[in-house]
Protein backbone atom coordinates (compact mmCIF):
# COMPACT_ATOMS: atom_id res chain seq x y z
CA UNK A 1 0.00 0.00 0.00
CA UNK A 2 2.76 2.38 1.00
CA UNK A 3 4.69 1.37 -2.08
CA UNK A 4 1.72 2.25 -4.25
CA UNK A 5 1.37 5.64 -2.59
CA UNK A 6 5.01 6.45 -3.19
CA UNK A 7 5.23 5.13 -6.74
CA UNK A 8 4.38 8.50 -8.38
CA UNK A 9 7.25 10.16 -6.51
CA UNK A 10 9.72 7.45 -7.47
CA UNK A 11 8.67 7.28 -11.10
CA UNK A 12 8.41 11.07 -11.23
CA UNK A 13 11.99 11.48 -10.07
CA UNK A 14 13.24 9.05 -12.73
CA UNK A 15 11.20 10.78 -15.42
CA UNK A 16 12.46 14.24 -14.42
CA UNK A 17 16.06 13.02 -14.28
CA UNK A 18 16.19 11.11 -17.55
CA UNK A 19 13.87 13.52 -19.33
CA UNK A 20 15.93 16.50 -18.22
CA UNK A 21 19.15 14.95 -19.43
CA UNK A 22 17.53 13.93 -22.73
CA UNK A 23 16.14 17.42 -23.35
CA UNK A 24 19.49 18.99 -22.56
CA UNK A 25 21.27 16.63 -24.96
CA UNK A 26 18.81 17.30 -27.77
CA UNK A 27 19.20 21.05 -27.28
CA UNK A 28 22.97 20.78 -27.21
CA UNK A 29 23.09 18.80 -30.46
CA UNK A 30 20.74 21.28 -32.11
CA UNK A 31 23.13 24.09 -31.15
CA UNK A 32 26.06 22.05 -32.44
CA UNK A 33 24.43 21.50 -35.84
CA UNK A 34 23.46 25.15 -36.08
CA UNK A 35 27.03 26.28 -35.39
CA UNK A 36 28.54 23.62 -37.67
CA UNK A 37 26.41 24.74 -40.59
CA UNK A 38 28.17 28.09 -40.54
CA UNK A 39 31.63 26.57 -40.49
CA UNK A 40 33.62 24.50 -43.00
CA UNK A 41 34.36 20.92 -41.96
CA UNK A 42 38.08 21.44 -41.40
CA UNK A 43 37.50 23.66 -38.36
CA UNK A 44 36.98 20.68 -36.08
CA UNK A 45 40.26 19.77 -34.46
CA UNK A 46 38.75 16.67 -32.84
CA UNK A 47 37.63 14.91 -36.02
Amino acid sequence: MVAMLHAPYVIGSYVVTLGGIALYTVGMFARARKAAKRLPDEERPWS
Binding site: S13, M28, F29
Partner: protein, 247 residues
Protein backbone atom coordinates in the same frame (compact mmCIF):
# COMPACT_ATOMS: atom_id res chain seq x y z
CA UNK B 1 40.54 13.95 -27.97
CA UNK B 2 42.27 13.08 -31.23
CA UNK B 3 41.88 9.39 -30.59
CA UNK B 4 40.20 8.53 -33.84
CA UNK B 5 39.05 10.37 -36.88
CA UNK B 6 35.51 10.17 -38.07
CA UNK B 7 34.55 10.80 -41.64
CA UNK B 8 31.90 13.43 -42.09
CA UNK B 9 29.89 11.06 -44.27
CA UNK B 10 29.13 8.66 -41.40
CA UNK B 11 25.70 9.19 -39.88
CA UNK B 12 26.14 11.11 -36.66
CA UNK B 13 23.70 12.89 -34.40
CA UNK B 14 26.09 15.76 -33.86
CA UNK B 15 29.09 17.34 -35.57
CA UNK B 16 30.84 17.11 -32.22
CA UNK B 17 30.85 13.30 -32.30
CA UNK B 18 33.91 11.14 -32.68
CA UNK B 19 34.27 7.40 -32.43
CA UNK B 20 35.36 7.84 -28.83
CA UNK B 21 32.34 9.89 -27.78
CA UNK B 22 30.03 7.50 -29.57
CA UNK B 23 31.48 4.55 -27.65
CA UNK B 24 31.24 6.56 -24.43
CA UNK B 25 27.67 7.55 -25.20
CA UNK B 26 26.64 3.96 -25.85
CA UNK B 27 28.30 2.88 -22.59
CA UNK B 28 26.46 5.61 -20.67
CA UNK B 29 23.17 4.67 -22.28
CA UNK B 30 23.62 0.99 -21.44
CA UNK B 31 24.51 2.01 -17.87
CA UNK B 32 21.35 4.07 -17.57
CA UNK B 33 19.31 1.18 -18.95
CA UNK B 34 20.79 -0.99 -16.22
CA UNK B 35 20.17 1.70 -13.64
CA UNK B 36 16.47 1.83 -14.52
CA UNK B 37 16.26 -1.98 -14.59
CA UNK B 38 18.00 -2.49 -11.25
CA UNK B 39 16.84 0.69 -9.55
CA UNK B 40 13.17 0.37 -10.37
CA UNK B 41 12.63 -3.37 -10.75
CA UNK B 42 15.34 -5.75 -9.58
CA UNK B 43 16.46 -4.17 -6.30
CA UNK B 44 14.34 -4.81 -3.21
CA UNK B 45 12.51 -2.24 -1.09
CA UNK B 46 14.33 -0.82 1.90
CA UNK B 47 13.11 -2.00 5.31
CA UNK B 48 12.64 1.57 6.60
CA UNK B 49 12.29 3.67 3.50
CA UNK B 50 10.34 1.16 1.45
CA UNK B 51 10.28 2.13 -2.20
CA UNK B 52 11.62 5.62 -1.54
CA UNK B 53 15.14 4.29 -1.49
CA UNK B 54 14.93 3.89 -5.27
CA UNK B 55 15.11 7.67 -5.70
CA UNK B 56 18.52 7.62 -4.04
CA UNK B 57 20.02 5.64 -6.92
CA UNK B 58 19.65 8.70 -9.11
CA UNK B 59 19.75 11.38 -6.41
CA UNK B 60 23.11 10.49 -4.88
CA UNK B 61 24.95 10.10 -8.22
CA UNK B 62 23.57 13.36 -9.59
CA UNK B 63 24.51 15.23 -6.40
CA UNK B 64 28.02 13.76 -6.54
CA UNK B 65 28.37 14.77 -10.18
CA UNK B 66 27.05 18.26 -9.62
CA UNK B 67 29.73 18.86 -7.00
CA UNK B 68 32.37 17.20 -9.18
CA UNK B 69 31.29 19.38 -12.09
CA UNK B 70 31.67 22.58 -10.06
CA UNK B 71 35.04 21.34 -8.81
CA UNK B 72 36.13 20.84 -12.42
CA UNK B 73 34.88 24.34 -13.25
CA UNK B 74 36.91 25.79 -10.38
CA UNK B 75 40.08 23.93 -11.34
CA UNK B 76 39.77 24.78 -15.04
CA UNK B 77 39.18 28.42 -14.14
CA UNK B 78 42.30 28.43 -11.98
CA UNK B 79 44.20 26.80 -14.85
CA UNK B 80 43.02 29.57 -17.16
CA UNK B 81 43.97 32.35 -14.76
CA UNK B 82 47.41 30.89 -14.18
CA UNK B 83 49.52 32.48 -16.91
CA UNK B 84 51.61 29.42 -17.71
CA UNK B 85 48.58 27.28 -18.55
CA UNK B 86 46.40 30.03 -20.02
CA UNK B 87 44.37 28.60 -22.88
CA UNK B 88 40.79 29.25 -23.97
CA UNK B 89 40.29 25.50 -23.92
CA UNK B 90 40.28 25.64 -20.11
CA UNK B 91 37.63 28.30 -20.21
CA UNK B 92 35.42 26.19 -22.44
CA UNK B 93 35.85 23.15 -20.21
CA UNK B 94 34.91 25.33 -17.22
CA UNK B 95 31.81 26.62 -18.99
CA UNK B 96 30.73 23.19 -20.23
CA UNK B 97 31.25 21.63 -16.84
CA UNK B 98 29.31 24.40 -15.07
CA UNK B 99 26.37 24.01 -17.43
CA UNK B 100 26.25 20.23 -17.01
CA UNK B 101 26.67 20.79 -13.26
CA UNK B 102 23.64 23.08 -13.19
CA UNK B 103 21.65 20.39 -14.99
CA UNK B 104 22.69 17.73 -12.47
CA UNK B 105 22.11 20.08 -9.55
CA UNK B 106 18.60 20.80 -10.77
CA UNK B 107 17.99 17.05 -10.96
CA UNK B 108 19.48 16.65 -7.48
CA UNK B 109 17.15 19.26 -6.00
CA UNK B 110 14.03 17.84 -7.65
CA UNK B 111 14.77 14.19 -6.89
CA UNK B 112 15.91 15.13 -3.38
CA UNK B 113 12.72 16.98 -2.54
CA UNK B 114 10.61 14.12 -3.91
CA UNK B 115 12.63 11.77 -1.70
CA UNK B 116 12.23 14.12 1.27
CA UNK B 117 8.49 14.20 0.75
CA UNK B 118 8.40 10.42 1.15
CA UNK B 119 10.93 10.10 3.96
CA UNK B 120 10.38 13.25 6.04
CA UNK B 121 6.89 14.11 4.85
CA UNK B 122 8.12 17.44 3.50
CA UNK B 123 9.76 18.64 0.33
CA UNK B 124 12.33 20.80 2.01
CA UNK B 125 14.20 21.23 5.29
CA UNK B 126 16.57 24.07 6.12
CA UNK B 127 19.49 21.77 6.57
CA UNK B 128 22.96 23.10 5.79
CA UNK B 129 23.60 20.65 2.99
CA UNK B 130 20.30 21.28 1.23
CA UNK B 131 20.55 25.03 1.55
CA UNK B 132 24.15 25.14 0.37
CA UNK B 133 23.15 23.03 -2.62
CA UNK B 134 20.33 25.40 -3.49
CA UNK B 135 22.65 28.42 -3.22
CA UNK B 136 25.23 26.68 -5.35
CA UNK B 137 22.55 26.08 -7.99
CA UNK B 138 21.63 29.76 -8.12
CA UNK B 139 25.27 30.86 -8.01
CA UNK B 140 26.19 28.78 -11.04
CA UNK B 141 23.14 29.97 -12.92
CA UNK B 142 24.60 33.43 -12.28
CA UNK B 143 27.98 32.19 -13.47
CA UNK B 144 26.42 31.02 -16.74
CA UNK B 145 24.73 34.42 -17.11
CA UNK B 146 28.12 36.11 -16.67
CA UNK B 147 29.53 33.92 -19.43
CA UNK B 148 26.92 35.38 -21.77
CA UNK B 149 27.78 39.01 -21.00
CA UNK B 150 29.68 39.42 -24.25
CA UNK B 151 33.04 40.92 -25.06
CA UNK B 152 36.00 39.07 -26.52
CA UNK B 153 36.64 35.43 -25.72
CA UNK B 154 39.53 36.46 -23.49
CA UNK B 155 37.37 38.93 -21.56
CA UNK B 156 34.69 36.32 -21.11
CA UNK B 157 37.24 33.76 -19.98
CA UNK B 158 38.91 36.04 -17.43
CA UNK B 159 35.67 37.40 -16.04
CA UNK B 160 34.00 34.03 -15.68
CA UNK B 161 37.15 32.44 -14.23
CA UNK B 162 37.17 35.08 -11.47
CA UNK B 163 33.46 34.45 -10.93
CA UNK B 164 34.06 30.71 -10.62
CA UNK B 165 36.76 31.21 -8.01
CA UNK B 166 34.54 33.64 -6.06
CA UNK B 167 31.83 30.96 -6.13
CA UNK B 168 34.29 28.47 -4.63
CA UNK B 169 34.96 31.06 -1.90
CA UNK B 170 31.25 31.46 -1.28
CA UNK B 171 30.42 27.78 -0.77
CA UNK B 172 32.03 27.25 2.68
CA UNK B 173 30.74 30.64 3.92
CA UNK B 174 27.16 29.77 3.02
CA UNK B 175 27.53 26.25 4.35
CA UNK B 176 28.82 27.22 7.77
CA UNK B 177 26.51 30.18 8.21
CA UNK B 178 23.47 28.02 7.51
CA UNK B 179 24.85 25.30 9.76
CA UNK B 180 25.15 27.73 12.68
CA UNK B 181 21.85 29.35 11.84
CA UNK B 182 19.88 26.12 12.34
CA UNK B 183 22.08 23.91 14.47
CA UNK B 184 19.46 21.17 14.91
CA UNK B 185 19.44 19.81 11.41
CA UNK B 186 18.05 16.56 10.21
CA UNK B 187 20.55 13.75 10.18
CA UNK B 188 20.97 11.42 7.30
CA UNK B 189 18.03 9.10 7.21
CA UNK B 190 19.87 6.30 5.50
CA UNK B 191 22.40 4.88 7.90
CA UNK B 192 25.50 3.53 6.33
CA UNK B 193 25.69 -0.23 5.97
CA UNK B 194 21.95 -0.61 5.85
CA UNK B 195 21.80 -1.02 2.12
CA UNK B 196 22.00 -4.63 1.07
CA UNK B 197 24.02 -6.02 -1.84
CA UNK B 198 21.61 -5.41 -4.65
CA UNK B 199 20.85 -1.88 -3.41
CA UNK B 200 24.53 -1.00 -3.22
CA UNK B 201 24.94 -2.45 -6.69
CA UNK B 202 22.14 -0.21 -8.03
CA UNK B 203 23.77 2.81 -6.44
CA UNK B 204 27.10 1.78 -7.91
CA UNK B 205 25.58 1.48 -11.40
CA UNK B 206 24.08 4.92 -10.92
CA UNK B 207 27.46 6.41 -10.02
CA UNK B 208 29.24 4.76 -12.95
CA UNK B 209 26.66 5.55 -15.58
CA UNK B 210 26.17 9.16 -14.45
CA UNK B 211 29.92 9.72 -14.41
CA UNK B 212 30.18 8.37 -17.98
CA UNK B 213 27.25 10.58 -18.91
CA UNK B 214 28.95 13.61 -17.36
CA UNK B 215 32.19 13.03 -19.27
CA UNK B 216 30.26 12.49 -22.48
CA UNK B 217 28.17 15.65 -22.01
CA UNK B 218 31.15 17.82 -21.12
CA UNK B 219 33.20 16.64 -24.12
CA UNK B 220 30.31 17.42 -26.44
CA UNK B 221 29.44 20.69 -24.77
CA UNK B 222 32.93 22.11 -24.83
CA UNK B 223 33.18 21.20 -28.51
CA UNK B 224 29.93 23.05 -29.17
CA UNK B 225 31.41 26.03 -27.32
CA UNK B 226 34.51 25.76 -29.50
CA UNK B 227 32.32 25.75 -32.62
CA UNK B 228 30.45 28.81 -31.37
CA UNK B 229 33.71 30.60 -30.65
CA UNK B 230 34.85 29.85 -34.18
CA UNK B 231 31.57 31.14 -35.59
CA UNK B 232 32.16 34.37 -33.64
CA UNK B 233 35.74 34.67 -34.88
CA UNK B 234 34.66 33.99 -38.44
CA UNK B 235 31.88 36.54 -38.21
CA UNK B 236 34.45 39.07 -37.06
CA UNK B 237 36.88 38.11 -39.85
CA UNK B 238 34.17 38.38 -42.48
CA UNK B 239 33.05 41.75 -41.16
CA UNK B 240 36.65 43.00 -41.22
CA UNK B 241 37.13 41.70 -44.75
CA UNK B 242 33.93 43.39 -45.89
CA UNK B 243 35.08 46.64 -44.29
CA UNK B 244 38.43 46.39 -46.05
CA UNK B 245 36.77 45.91 -49.41
CA UNK B 246 34.56 48.93 -48.87
CA UNK B 247 37.45 51.23 -48.22
Amino acid sequence: MNLTSSSSSSPSPSPTSTRFTRALGVAALVGIGWLVLFGLFLSPNDRVQKTGVRILYIHVPSAWLAYLAFGVTGLSSAAYLWKRTRNLQWDRVAGASAEVGVLFMGITLVSGSLWGRISWGQFWTWDARLTTTAFLFVTYIGYLAVRDLGGTHQQRAKRSAVMALLAVLEVPLVHFSVKWWRPLHQNETVEKGKLNGLMLFSLFIGLISFTLLYVWLVIHRQRVLALNDQVDDRGLDLALAARREES
